[in-house]
Every structure is written in C-alpha cells, then in structure tokens.
Amino acid sequence: MTTTLVTAPTTSPVGRHRSYGRYLAGKILGAVASLFFVLVVNFFLFRVLPGDPARTLGRGRFSSAAQLAEFRHTYGLDESLPRQFVTFLHNTFTGQLGISLRYRVPVGDLIWERLWPTVMLVGTSTILATLIGVYIGMLGAWNRGGPFDRVSTGVTLTLYSMPEWWLGLLLIAGLAVGIGPLPGLFPTGGLHSTDVDPSSLKGVLDTAWHLTLPVITLTLAYLADYSLVMRSSLLDELGEDYLLTARAKGLRDIAVRRHHAVRNALLPTTTITAINIGFVVSGAITIETVFSIPGLGLLSSEALSIPDYWVLQGAFLVASGAVIVANLGANLLYGLLDPRVRT
C-alpha cells in the first residue's frame, strides 16, 4: 500500500464559487465567438493573401481575360470586400457554402451527403478509444512500475508516435490483403459491397464489416492519449490526502481506488475527449483516404488535388464547428462535475 503524503498545499476553492448559469453563459459566448472567428478566417484566408484570388482559385485554367472576368463575376469576386463578406455570411447561414468547383453542386449538400460515414467512424472509434484507453491507464497506474505498466506504456507511446494512416496501411497489407498463405479477412476499402442493399440487415452487417479495420486503426491511434492522461491523473490522485482518510476509515484498498480515486481521476479525461475530437477529425481525413471511405475526410483530401477551395473551406468550417461544440459540451459537463472550475 502506498502512503505518499502530498506536501504542496492546495488552494481552497471556497469563496470563488459562482453560479452555474453565469459559467454556462460565459462558455456559450466563447463558443459563439470562436465560431465567428472561424468564419472570418475562412473568408479572409483566400482574399488577403497577395495575388489575385481569381487566379489562385482558377490555377491557370483561364486562357483569356474574358474568361477570367466571367469567373470573377460567377463567384462574386468583382464586388467590394464588405459586400463579399455579407454574401459569404448569407451563403454560410443558408447552408449553401458556395458551389463546388469539381462537382458543380452546393458544397452544403455535398457535406451533408458525406457526413454520416465520418460520424459513424469517428463516433465509434472515440467511444472505443476512451473506454479502452482509460482502462489501460487505470491498470497501469494501479500497478505502477509493474510488468503490465511497463509494457502498456511502451506500446501506447509507440502507437502515439505512429502516423495513424501508416498503421492503416499496415493493417490493410496484413489483414485485408493477407500475408503469404494467410487470406485477407477484411475488405481493403469502401463502405459497402456493391451487390448488397445498404438498408437491409445484411447491408448493415456489411457496412460494419467494412468499417472494422478503419475503426480499429483510429481506436489504436487515439487510445494512447487517454491511457497516458488517465495514468498520470490517477497517479496524481493516489497521493491525495482524502484517500489516506478513506483508508484510515477502514475501507478496503480496492474500494478506495474504485469509488474515490478513479472518479476524480476521470475529470481530466473529459477535457481530453473534447480536445481529441479535433485530432480524430484530422485522423478521419487520412484514414478515410487510406480506406477510401466516402466521408468528409475523403471529400477534403480529394478536394486538395483540384484544389476545390469552397469544399476545403466548408469542410474546415464543419470540422471546426464540431470541435467547438464538443468542447463546449465538455466544458459544461466539467462545470457540473467539478464546481471548482466555475471561476
């Protein structure tokens, strides 16, 4: 049994309490400001840079001045900047987000169509990575320095150092194509088999089968963060005074850890989950490319080669919006769970 005493005095939270309503309002205001800033960046990125935006957007596709003027007019680039900004805001709030240079349809429709595969992929892997990661971190901290701790820290650090799409490539080579006499177990890519109706039960199972490898890849790539954070925050908690008190009351070691230490150590994990959604969204871009899953990520990486600026802008807006909202959710949850942060 470890009986480390904490020497650093902790500041008393008493007297710094504020109402949850005020905390809530502050956070929501912050999120709205962040979203607005995303819009401003989205607008100005292509317009304040040196050079003619029409030329940049067209990338030398125009042979005559008339064509250039025509293009400029179509995209409203011949209007004044404030005017353009108003049009841009209008397009954003109506969900149109401009016309894709490649598909010739509103970007909003394109994104809506491609949203679900990404949500399934990112959602499933986030949940799995959190659960498995937290559990591994917990076991590691309980037996600090033990064989499990050493192996799991080594493995998670290696996974953390790995580009997630490279892991995906390895898994495709190993489990989808097969090595030597071993046959491939999973499809190499895509979301459905062509001969199955996606809405039937068979179709759902088929989609799950297609998503297995990508989900495993993303889960492995991101569980490292959770297990490292969980391990260190549980180690911090294990030195706290209240655990000594609980033990002094005669509670069994296992009860002290499960009901006292772990509950508090889970707090930082809430924040990490929210921040990580940003990384998982980034991961989805490469993983969808590697496994050719027709989601938002593949849409963005395909748009890169054109380059299809409005699609890139729209994808950036949606990804940032998702992360800002997820962060707001985590902050609100954190405020409910831990009254100390409402300052």
């Binding site: 400001a33 150092s161 871009i285 890169l304 380059p307 940032s320």
Partner: protein, 302 residues
Amino acid sequence: MTSTQTLTPAQVARRRRSASLKATWRLLRANRSGMVGLVLLVAFILVALLAPVLADSQGLEVTRATGGVLEPPSLHYPLGTDDNGRSILTLLIWGSRISLFVGLSATVISMVIGTFMGLMSGFFEGRSAALLFRVTEWFLVIPFLPLAIVLASVLGRSLLNIAIVIGVTSWPGTALLIRSQTLSVKERPYLERARVLGAGRWHQMTRHVLPNVMPMVFANTTLTVAIAILSETTLSFLGLGDPTRVSWGSMLEDAFSVGAMTTGAWWFIVPPGVCVVLVVLAFTLVGQALEEVLNPRLRRSS
C-alpha cells in the same frame, strides 16, 4: 542579502548556471528511457548530417535510377527499390534531412509564437492579455489538419511553407504552458523586489520571467519537434509537401498511390514508417525525460 566581494554578478550567474546544467545532466543520465531516446536521436541526426557520405545524391534522381521497378531487397539494394527504380535506402537517408529540417524549423516558429503569446498573456493584465488568451484558446480548439490543409493549399507547396503551416498551427500548447509558468513566476517575492527596485516591464520579463520559464520551453520544444515531424509526414502523405524533395511522408504517398500494400511491396511501406516512428519516439522520450527532470512536480519521489 549577502554580496560577493570576489565575484562579479555575471560570474556568479555563470557558475550557478553550469552547476544546474550539470545537475540536470546527472538526473537525465539516470533516466533510462530518456537515454534510449537520446541515443536514437543522435543516430538519426548523424545519418542526416552524413547523408552525402552515406549515399550518392544521384540516387534521388528518377532519370538516373538504376534498379528495376519495385525490386525486393537484394544485396545491391538492401531495402529494395521504389516504383521508379531508386534505392529505398538512399531515399530514406536523404529523406531524414527533410523530415528533421521541417520538424526543427516548424518547431522554431512554433516556439517563438508560443513563448511570445504565453509571456504576453501571462505577464500583462487587462483586455489585450485576455484577447491574446482567447486567440490561444481558439487555436487550441481548431482541428489541426483541416486548418493546415486550408493554409497549405493557399500558400502553395514548398518546404518552407510546410514548416510555416505546421509552426503557426502548433504553438497554442506551448503558449498555455508558458502562460501558466509566467503567472506563477510573476507572484514570486523576488519579482516584487525587482519591481520595488524600479525594474521596468522589459527588464522584469527578459531578466526574471524568461530565464525561469526557459527550462520548460526547452522540454516542450523537444515534444513539439515530435509532433511537427508527424505533421510533416501527414501533410506530405496528403500531397501537400514539396514535390521536388523526397521525405519519408512523400515516399509513403508514392507507396500508397502505386498500391504497394496490395501488391505486397512491404519494403516500400515499412522502412519509411519505422523511421518516422523511431524519430518521433526518440524526441518524445527525450522530451518526457527533460520534463520530468526540469519540472520538480513530476519528479519521482521514490
């Protein structure tokens, strides 16, 4: 306060600094994983520096490739050849230069922005500091890759642009760390003493706050290099790298586009990835060891 008669303040400072450096090195030596990382790191840096000696740069040119297409490893080509008939080993060795160069220059950019923003938002009070803090938080929240993609596609494809893109998207973690350190240093008695003695803001910041924050910056730098190298690999894989240079990321992009994982050309996929993992792991291990040594809170009390 005792004053030294025989030594000038500069000498005292120098002695103190070298003593603390020695103590840090001693603690670092005792950290096994940190030392493993350091050895790996030195090995990769040597390979990058000695690239012209280790492999002929002519081996990078597609037109002068001597091997067949995607040849498996042999005596002549220890790691096989790529789809253009170039030796994978040569590409790997020269690729290490690009990966380390981009990683290090992106880190410098990120450190300068992060330290500046952190110091300013921590040291000053009021509206502008609050605004700086908000900007930092915003950059922390915004998903890295989508922002980097938008930036990279606007700026165009070159080595320096990639470094800039990674630099301007990866500083907020550093800024928050520096800010919290600055806030705690600001409250310490010796800074109050300096203020009473009439020290200006510039003096307080450069002479007192910055030197105290520097060790943490240093540890954080090492961790940032790891992330920057990973980011470079990912951006190159997505085709945003400098098309004229070979990096580990661009090798993997090539391997992916010719379908090396379905044709069984493992020698095109495994070596570049392993190099990335080893370098990133090395920087991470060294960074964590430095953090543990320099931040007393993390030091093991066993």
